[in-house]
Amino acid sequence: MYAGIDAGSRAIKVVLIGEDGPGVVAQGQVDQGVEQDKIACRLLEEVLAQTGVDRSQVCRIVATGYGRNAVSIADTTITEITCHAVGVRQLVPAAMTVIDIGGQDSKLMRLDTNGRVRDFAMNDRCAAGTGRFLEVVADRLGLSLGDLGPMAARSRNPAVISSMCVVFAETEITGLLAAGRACEDIVAGVQTAIAARIVAMAGRNIEAPVIFTGGVARISGMETALQTALGRPIAPAPEPQMTGALGAALLARRQRGSD
């Protein structure tokens, strides 16, 4: 068995795979916390317990994500950029571009025909273009993250959010609410603003197929906003929040015998 642990900013994910084959043996996810090493260990134990696999049967563990260096049970660490690319390519072999929007950063990876990262861009200088932006908006509007997609879908006239800074955007939202703009227009406007940020980061030459991954890919409406901004179809990865951990597990398997 091989395990991949993705210690992201919002959640820790674990994927367990076998010696061969593409299938996932087991997986799990839990909210991130202060003691992320303990949380990751506990989650791995829970995932192992689901399958009846003993810890000693796990040959190698790769940790990824922003908290990867805190995961003491990992044999090695690999960045989320490489892991997401490997995970996505496993699920969508034709993928040439990966857009990953997580809780605190966003990334775009260009792949070569063999599925290796050719180049990447990453935004984490501010919360614009990340899941945090959506959280702030949801809080401000008294909504849950799950409400955002259906609400944005009802919009017929998305608001223009001109600021790329979350703090200023929140001020803009206050102004829009005061002006009587509907919540659905504001949410749709925010999704459009995030998509615009990603497109600006991506630059030119986005090669299809484009696969959308990371926790934000689960929020409906974001895929459409990105498609519109990029001017080309985008497909969300199956279980997009798990691709980093899956990639880490696959890389752990590739490294077998490396110690």
């Binding site: 922003y66 690999i78 960045t79 950029i81 290796r116 180049d119 984490d124």
Partner: protein, 460 residues
């Protein structure tokens, strides 16, 4: 010392220094344990890792004692010339007279890093209306106000025009505070039109003859001011000797760069190479000692190359670095993440080229000044970077933006796009503030990801 090259912390260096001293190993007059600089406020040194060679110790001691050197020069009756913004031209003129000492007040941009923002210089700049929307070189304003980091120079010169908008605004503010500045203008470099006479510049560029004439006339004004300050004439022979000395330094740096960027394993860390390359523009207030320091470093590097020792392995990812970092610690991070330096363009590539010696010296300096990367287009910079990437065999490019620096914001993206398209290499853009502690995990992720990308691309 003939130890295996490795990066050591400050405490280890201080222990090693005591052993060297006890063994009677000769030290320059400015030598001593690096730890003494921490007592003077340079607390960032505690977080850096230094090359363990004696040559590197000398380099660091030389860098960190410039203020003492300037004060000694003044005490000896020499006149001090602050050569602002100009990257490598006026210091050559001033240094040709032995009763003038040129230095580079802009070097204060590293004080917020080295003193971990405890110097208060940025706060002074804030209070003068030069806030964080400007480049960290605004710390220079605070250094003038406090007088605590370099003696106030007897003459201040500053190049303006096509160089840097941020710096012009900062220098104007300084002028407004009562520090008179002798401004000299440098125009934007452009390609000559068909009906214009063209002049070949160092670095492979060309410019209209009229631009070179204009810059030469501006430099003539500087020459007169230097002569007045010195009480001596800067004739062609004097200036030619000054140019010869500058060219000696440039030759040493060219050899050092060739060895450092091409040898495997890498014979010198990225941080020491950055400090060494910076000597090309300001000589750390002493040309003769710069030559000695660089010769020492080159000898050490050549010894390591011959012995096949250094940092990393043949597999270490080869990175080309664009723009200097505001936090020195980031250069350590490159090696931590599995990379090595393999070419640089720190915005003063022209100061690494030989100054022409086949034309009159003032003409040569004018041509050299016009070859400054900052007075040309981003496309020109990219052309030079591409050539160096190919020359040194770099596998990826890191463009490190300086927060608030307007040219970095504009040029990084253009350079990145050109390099991606024409060299087919991955390009990483990062922003490096004076202290990166808070963003260190994110910087590490990016650099590690770039190293992974380079390694994975090799197996295609």
């Amino acid at each position: 010392m003939s130890e295996t090259p490795r990066q050591i912390a400050l405490r280890e260096w201080d222990d090693a220094y005591e052993r060297l001293r006890a063994a009677g190993v000769p030290q320059p007059a400015y030598g001593g344990p690096l730890g003494r600089h921490v007592a003077e406020g340079d607390t960032r040194l505690r977080k850096l890792r230094f090359d363990n060679s004696l040559a590197a110790l000398r380099l660091w001691d030389f860098l960190l004692t410039e203020e003492d050197r300037l004060q000694l020069a003044r005490d000896a009756g020499k006149k001090l010339v602050g050569t602002m913004k100009d990257l490598g031209t006026v210091p050559v003129m001033a240094s040709s007279l032995d009763n003038l000492v040129a230095f580079y007040p802009d070097g204060a941009w590293w004080i917020p890093c080295v003193m971990e923002v405890n110097s208060g210089l940025l706060q002074i700049a804030d209070s003068l209306g030069i806030d964080e929307s400007f480049c960290p070189v605004r710390a220079m304003l605070g250094a003038f106000v406090t007088g605590a980091h370099f003696p106030i120079p007897d003459l201040l010169t500053c190049s303006v025009g096509a160089t840097c908008d941020d710096f012009s605004a900062i220098a104007q503010r300084l002028n407004g505070l009562g520090y008179p500045i002798l401004w000299w203008e440098i125009p934007h470099r452009r390609v000559p039109e068909d009906n214009e006479g063209g002049v070949q510049l160092p670095g492979g560029f060309r410019a209209p003859a009229s631009l070179v004439r204009f810059v030469r006339s501006e430099l003539e004004r500087i020459r007169l001011a230097l002569e007045k300050l010195s009480g001596r004439v800067i004739d062609e022979g004097t200036l030619s000797r000054g140019i010869a000395k500058a060219n000696h330094i440039r030759r040493l740096l060219a050899e050092l760069r060739q060895a450092a960027f091409t040898a495997t394993p890498c014979p010198i860390p990225a941080l020491e190479m950055l400090i060494a390359e910076m000597l090309a523009i300001h000589f750390c207030s002493d040309q003769e000692e710069t030559i000695a320091v660089l010769q020492d470093l080159l000898d050490e590097v050549n010894r390591r190359v011959a012995a096949g020792t250094g940092y990393g392995t043949a597999d270490t990812a080869r990175m080309f670095w664009v723009d200097p970092v505001a936090d020195l610690q980031v250069m350590n991070l490159l090696e931590d993440c599995g990379g090595r330096i393999c070419g640089t363009e720190y915005l003063f590539a022209h100061a690494l080229d030989p100054i022409p010696t086949d034309v009159p010296p003032m003409e040569a300096l004018a041509r050299m000044a016009l070859a400054d990367p900052m007075v040309g287009s981003a496309t020109d910079r990219a052309a030079r970077i591409k050539a160096e990437i190919r020359r040194f065999g770099a596998e990826a490019v890191i463009v490190s933006r300086i927060p608030g620096a307007s040219h970095c914001a504009l040029e990084g993206e253009i350079i990145g796009e050109i390099v991606r398209a024409e060299c087919g290499l991955p390009v990483l853009e990062i922003e490096v503030p004076p202290l990166t502690d808070a963003v260190s995990p994110s910087l590490r992720t990016r650099l590690e990801a770039l190293v992974e990308t380079v390694v994975n691309r090799r197996s295609r």
